[in-house]
């Protein structure tokens, strides 16, 4: 039993290191292509863009969100803003009404039906060649849109461009941890962009060519992760998604563990279920790196975390058991007078060194992500918070998502 467990542990560790090395080598290959622009830029042509803002009970944040769109460095006559109230029960509708006098803002009201229905209502009215969505809890940097559009100008084969999502200033260590995590996902998404394998077109201001929806159809419910499903659908149909690392969208992150747990549960549940829905595209070389690298590596991470968590619980259990034995045998005391500071007792198993390398690669990816967004090097304590909080609580939302999936998929067996 022990040897099977250690083989599994080695295999999972190997695959996890493989994924990190893959990112690192992708980075080294493409590092010269990563540009972080500081000031305003100009496009040769400014195509018309529509931004849909779906809102559901967002009266507190909607004003700032819309304001940030109005302040975008983009010609006013080229930018249309759709505000869609998805049956809010608070003062969102009134807050939206205040913007109705702006000539480039259109407002809609509908019965509550979920975010994807609000987006689809907006989609029906879009007349521009480019469109995007901005979650009502996010704020767009004034240069974000023009930088995103510069990618389309440069490469006509690009069908969607995702921005860098940056967590707002953190008020506590939970938000601090997420800040580091968002930095890391900027890095990861940029690398996935280079190998044409991005798996999510996030709600905060991913801009699409309208052709995507004309060809592939509107948003779907997709287990409450419509932004992931659309990316899967695009990858399945060979539509290129890029990531623009210097287009910043500031988003508010959960302030408490409970809220973070709920958000992540939804994300992971969405990932698992979208992957099951699209299982036929895994390990098919015609779907490219997305099918050979992105999806498998996420699946591996789910297995690795579940396995490590199980092992940790087992180890903790046997540790407590030995303490109980010790108590029964002769009470608590320091069993030996051996000096455990003795270097002899430092773990020197090869797995120990591998884990150090793995952590080093993870910290490096956070640092590189920070450099890509902020344009400067630096180490922040947020990295430590991230490693601590996510490795302790992460397994719980992950296992719960797996559990929910098993429960909800029960009827499908019959």
């Amino acid at each position: 039993m022990d040897s099977i467990s250690s083989i599994v542990l080695y295999v999972l560790t190997f695959l996890s290191v493989y994924v990190q090395v893959f990112f690192l080598i992708t980075f080294l290959e493409n590092r010269k292509k990563i540009i972080t622009r500081k000031g305003p830029i100009k496009l040769i042509k400014y195509p018309k863009v529509t931004v849909i803002v779906p809102c559901w009970d967002e009266e507190k944040t909607i004003y700032k969100t819309v304001r940030s769109l109005l302040d975008l460095n983009y010609p006013k006559d080229k930018l249309k803003i759709f505000l869609v109230d998805d049956g809010s029960t608070d003062g969102t509708w009134n807050a939206i009404l205040k913007f109705s006098k702006h000539s480039n803002i259109k407002i809609f009201h509908k019965e509550n039906g979920g975010k994807y229905t609000a987006l689809n209502l907006g989609l029906k009215h879009v007349e521009t060649d480019f469109l995007g969505c901005l979650d009502a809890d996010s704020i767009a940097d004034s240069e974000s849109l023009v930088r995103i559009m510069s990618y389309f100008e440069k490469d006509p084969s690009i069908m969607a461009v995702a921005p860098s999502i940056v967590a707002f200033k953190s008020k506590n260590i939970i938000q601090g941890a997420q800040r580091a995590e968002y930095d890391m996902s900027v890095y990861i998404k940029k690398m996935l962009g280079f190998i044409e394998a991005i798996h999510v077109a996030p709600g905060p201001l991913t801009i699409f060519r309208k052709k995507v929806f004309d060809d592939l159809g509107p948003y779907r419910h997709a287990h409450n992760t419509e932004d992931m499903e659309i990316a899967y659908r695009m990858q399945k149909n060979h539509y290129k998604i890029e990531q623009c690392n210097d287009a910043y969208i500031y988003t508010s992150t959960p302030l408490t563990i409970t809220k973070l747990y709920k958000q992540r549960l939804r994300w992971i549940y969405g990932f698992i279920n979208n992957t099951i829905d699209y299982r036929k595209i895994i390990f098919r070389k015609k779907y490219g790196n997305f099918s050979l690298f992105t999806v498998p590596s996420s699946i591996i991470s789910i297995f690795a975390v579940s396995f490590l968590f199980g092992k940790m619980v087992y180890n903790l259990g046997s540790f407590l058991f030995s303490k109980i034995l010790q108590f029964q045998a002769g009470g608590f005391h320091f069993t030996s007078k051996t000096n455990f500071l003795d270097l002899f007792f430092v773990n020197t198993q090869s797995l120990f060194f591998i884990i150090i390398v793995l952590y080093f690669l993870i910290i490096l990816s956070i640092t590189l992500g920070k450099k890509m967004t902020e344009g400067k090097w630096g180490f922040s304590f947020n990295t430590i918070y991230f490693l601590l909080i996510f490795s302790i609580i992460g397994p719980f939302w992950l296992l719960k998502a797996v559990y929910n999936t098993i429960l909800s998929r029960k009827p499908a067996w019959r």
């Binding site: 090395v21 893959f22 002769g330 009470g331 030996s336 002899f344 090869s350």
Partner: protein, 233 residues
């Protein structure tokens, strides 16, 4: 277009690079593992010299006085060695070298036991011994418990010497001891206290009263510890 974006060479390079990392880690791990084995060997050699020296001293002076016989310094070092060996067995694996070191350790224990017993008999010094037989061949939770109880007892009575032997070790000297005391593998853990064989788990209280009775040991209190130290000096 996507099919063309698969860079198989890169997948291979990443694979080789990762294998390289694992190999380097295993090399580094081996290097430190060997250092640890060397350290263990060094401690054993020192103990072996100490025993030899004490034995020689004992033979030289046996006809004279007991005053000059230095208290054999071994128990502390044997304890350290035992801890390190146990840790090594768990973390380095039961390699041939670890097994060899373990045999050597058992032999040193027996020598220390015989020597201390002889000194105590001739010079009428107080000494208490427990021989403890356990097994690692099968899962023996009683043995684990017994081991913990014994180390608790040893902490309480520093004069007590506990010699532990792995039943399954392939060493003729240990086998002879098993024969002498008629220890069977079905009745482990087994203890030999004052020539009595006790099988199965024995609680700390039972052992304490036995040990106290037969050897009239003193518990460690700050004052006693000091006095022991002065005697040793």
């Amino acid at each position: 277009m996507n099919e063309n974006n698969i860079d198989w060479k890169k997948y291979l390079i990443v694979f080789l690079f990762t294998v390289g990392l694992f190999l380097s880690a295993s090399y580094v791990s081996n290097y430190f593992g060997n250092k640890k084995i060397d350290q263990l060997k060094l401690i054993q050699d020192k103990i072996s010299i100490d025993i030899l020296s004490s034995e020689t001293q004992f033979s030289l002076l046996s006809e004279l006085s007991c005053k000059n016989i230095s208290d054999s310094v071994l128990s502390g070092e044997l304890g350290e060695l035992a801890n390190k060996l146990e840790w090594g067995q768990q973390n380095l694996g039961m390699t041939d070298t670890v097994l060899y070191l373990k045999k050597y350790y058992s032999l040193l224990e027996i020598k220390d036991y015989l020597l201390t017993k002889n000194i105590s008999k001739r010079c009428k010094t107080k000494a208490a011994f427990i021989l403890y037989f356990y097994t690692t061949a099968e899962n023996c939770s009683e043995c684990e418990k017994q081991g913990l109880a014994l180390s608790a007892l040893r902490d309480k009575y520093p004069e007590l010497r506990v010699y532990s032997f792995d039943y399954s070790i392939d060493l003729s000297a240990v086998k002879s001891m098993l024969q002498i005391y008629k220890i069977e593998d079905t009745k482990l853990p087994a203890l030999v206290v004052d020539e009595d064989v006790l099988t199965g788990f024995r609680g700390i209280d039972e052992l304490e009263s036995r040990v106290k009775e037969s050897f009239k040991l003193q518990e460690t209190t700050p004052i006693n510890t000091n006095s022991t130290k002065t005697i040793k000096k």
